[in-house]
Symmetry: C2
Subunit: 444 residues, 2 copies
């Protein structure tokens, strides 16, 4: 792979105290798949290095989507203005019975198109037919953390298959793919199933990606039924003893946060605020989690609730909602919001030493955000711009693992026309809905 110099960009980097700040007019030298050097612009580029001009571009770590169901873009707009329970039982779980392996492949590619165009370089995907998602990620050139979603209603045997997937693709796509076990949630997976998932995870050397305490109703139902919060169930079944990525935690109680703090070295929370607002699930207690040292990352969730896979929007909503809920505009200042979007998300996925930071030695997952638009002018404050003005459509160039995959908004790895045509062709079939054909029943 050719080495690259991103010339004369502004760069979002940690200052000497570790706080994220924008340093103007920098060159970023990438060697192979890693960042080699970030230095003030001016020196002629090394011989043989490909130069990417970065004037008036803001370089930042590629965005990380810590919890999504990528192929659900196929159901975009089909479950609107309905309760959480109806969303599952009458819409999403019946719709998902339509899916074939090929649908998941094309759906994953559509979601990847959208995410790449929005500067997302890594996604933690929790879905079905995951070999197809892995294949799509391999082609797209992005990074991904993949787990095959399962319910215990399918019997213990499915875990062997999903574990085989996790083993097959661990370190896949030249190291860009990491894998995990992905039991759906404590209310859809019995304790034995969760324990067996943990055993598989330990044996393979991976973690677990799971939904838990999604809202306060689930927490209350769990406490009522068995005297334990969903997080306590995760502790008792061993889930917290392996690397665990937990969505969404809007139903966390103070004792849950204390508990999570004990496992903070390898447990993270995925926060997907647009879904929470749209489905009225409450809001993850981010301040308390971070105070307890638990990593929090940004997520979109699937497009059947969020409608898009736009992490810039998640970032903005996260910051706005933390201020609103605390009734204090000084809460969640810009540097902290950007910390969550970058280092927080990387840490929540257990990849904090490899991605989420622009610094020598890190993987070269870098996006260039175009700051020339009218909505950025005048550019008094570029960090404020990233949180409060940036749009997914400002993403100009995307590099993953040292390779440019989007340049001036043109895809270099994916055939956009073909993907859109394939998805258009299955649209009608995707929208058919037979409630009795649902893949699972929501009953927390």
């Amino acid at each position: 792979m050719a080495d690259t110099c991103i010339r004369d960009c502004h760069a979002l980097v940690p200052d000497t105290s570790g706080a994220l700040t924008v340093v103007r007019n920098q060159d970023i030298l990438v060697r192979g798949n890693r960042i080699a050097e970030i230095r003030p612009t001016g020196r002629p580029p090394e011989p043989g290095v490909t130069v990417l001009e970065g004037q008036r571009m803001l370089a930042m770590p590629g965005l990380i989507n810590t919890h999504t169901h990528v192929p659900m873009v196929l159901f975009r707009g089909l479950a609107e203005d309905v309760s959480f329970e109806r969303w599952f039982n009458e819409f999403v779980w019946p719709l998902e019975s339509n899916l074939t392996e090929a649908d998941v492949y094309w759906g994953a590619l559509l979601g990847l198109l959208e995410m790449i165009e929005g500067g997302v370089t890594t996604a933690a995907d929790h879905y079905f037919f995951m070999d197809q998602v892995a294949r799509a990620v391999e082609e797209a050139g992005t990074r991904a953390h993949l787990g095959w979603a399962v319910f215990s209603s399918r019997g213990r045997g499915v875990l062997d298959e999903t574990a085989a997937f996790a083993e097959r693709w661990k370190g896949g796509a030249g190291g860009r793919i990491t894998t995990c076990m992905a039991p759906h949630a404590p209310f859809t997976c019995d304790d034995g199933f969760l324990r067996a998932s943990v055993e598989h995870a330990s044996r393979i050397g991976v973690g677990i990606h799971i939904h838990a305490a999604e809202d306060m109703n689930q927490t209350n139902a769990s406490v009522e039924r068995r005297g334990l919060t969903p997080i306590q169930v995760l502790r008792d079944t061993g889930v917290l003893s392996v690397p665990a990525l937990i969505a969404h935690g809007c139903g966390l109680l103070p004792q849950d946060i204390e508990l999570l703090a004990r496992y903070r070295k390898h447990v993270g929370i995925a926060h997907a605020p647009k879904t929470y607002l749209k489905l009225a699930m409450g809001i993850t207690p981010i301040h308390a989690l971070r105070k307890a040292g638990v990593a929090v990352g940004l997520a979109t969730d699937g497009a059947a609730s969020n409608n898009t896979l736009d992490v810039f929007e998640s970032l903005r909503l996260m910051a706005l909602m933390q201020k609103h809920e605390a009734m204090d505009p000084e809460v969640m200042p810009i540097a902290e919001a950007l910390d969550i979007a970058t280092r927080g998300s990387a840490a929540a996925m257990g990849l904090g030493d490899r991605i989420g930071t622009l610094a020598p030695g890190y993987q070269a997952d870098i996006i260039l955000v175009d700051t020339r638009g009218a909505h950025w002018q005048p550019p008094h404050n570029l960090t404020a711009g990233l949180v409060y003005s940036a749009r997914a459509s400002d993403v100009h160039t995307v590099m993953v693992d040292g390779r440019v995959i989007l340049q001036e908004r043109r895809h270099l790895t994916l055939d956009k026309e073909r993907i859109l045509a394939e998805v258009a062709g299955t649209m009608e079939r995707m929208a058919r809905r037979v409630p009795e054909a649902r893949i699972q029943r929501y009953q927390p």
Copy 2:
């Protein structure tokens, strides 16, 4: 002006029950500055009519920004993560002492550039040096409702000047400009000043655009100081007896809503949710207002709080926040959100019979939203797309008063390069901040 046929677009129109819906494959015929006909596509266009191809475009009424301070884009990003009181006293009101007439002109043009690119065809602007804003609007070709902001600390005489402005520009720019009196707020304008504003408004035949009950602190302070809510002050001073556009109403009490209901024929509320979240002001009680028959419209407020002038973002935040605050995802369904964004905003400004609806006889303020992006696919649900997927950058074509002013995102009326250069040239001066030089003190 040439007549135009927008051919084969999807159109957001009222169905027979009045609910907004998208009808696919329509031709919209515009004659002069009005919509003449909306009909299924297929008939050859009338001779001499200019054809605008609308395939896979969604035509909707131009967005309306019912409360903003357009030239404040000059201060974008300069007042971040601070309390409401510090936002005024330490940042915005000192910064505004930097403004010259020329700054307001170029600032207005920058804000208009941004709004046109985001599909905003009408803005209610509440600011200073308003002749400059009117001049900018005239050049841009947009529609505007303009009021010159004043505080009673400046003495009663300023009202003569701002009334002269309202008279001078009433019906200006070929009828695209309407005007009003714009006393700042009940806590910055004494009762006599408000009464005099009403007298001027009545004499000229215009309304009043004012801030009131912006948050609960202002309401509490008013009740404590004088035993009246800000809305009761507006009633007592006669403001509610003329057409009144009120921002922001996050501090409305139930008795205020009852009071507003009595004046609902000519009173509207401007709702700017991003500012409220960012400054932790609470949320306008939209459901109660609409139940009481009071028109509610969407707004951005100024870019010093919002950071952008993006009404698509206001629409999305409005819908999401109403669900969240009610803890009910069935609240504020898509059709209602779109009703607020179109007919609600027009009604709040007293222009409900002229703009905000795609139907024969209405002014031809039409935008084409490009639905071809990955984040719209597959297009199962275009109304959901408008509320939950659309980005300002999806706006492809903008027509105001029958004239195309943005085509394929190119400006036809404004010189973007020149405007950005002028604004860049004053950027440093705009950012200087001398607290003692503030134009007013915040002390509700």
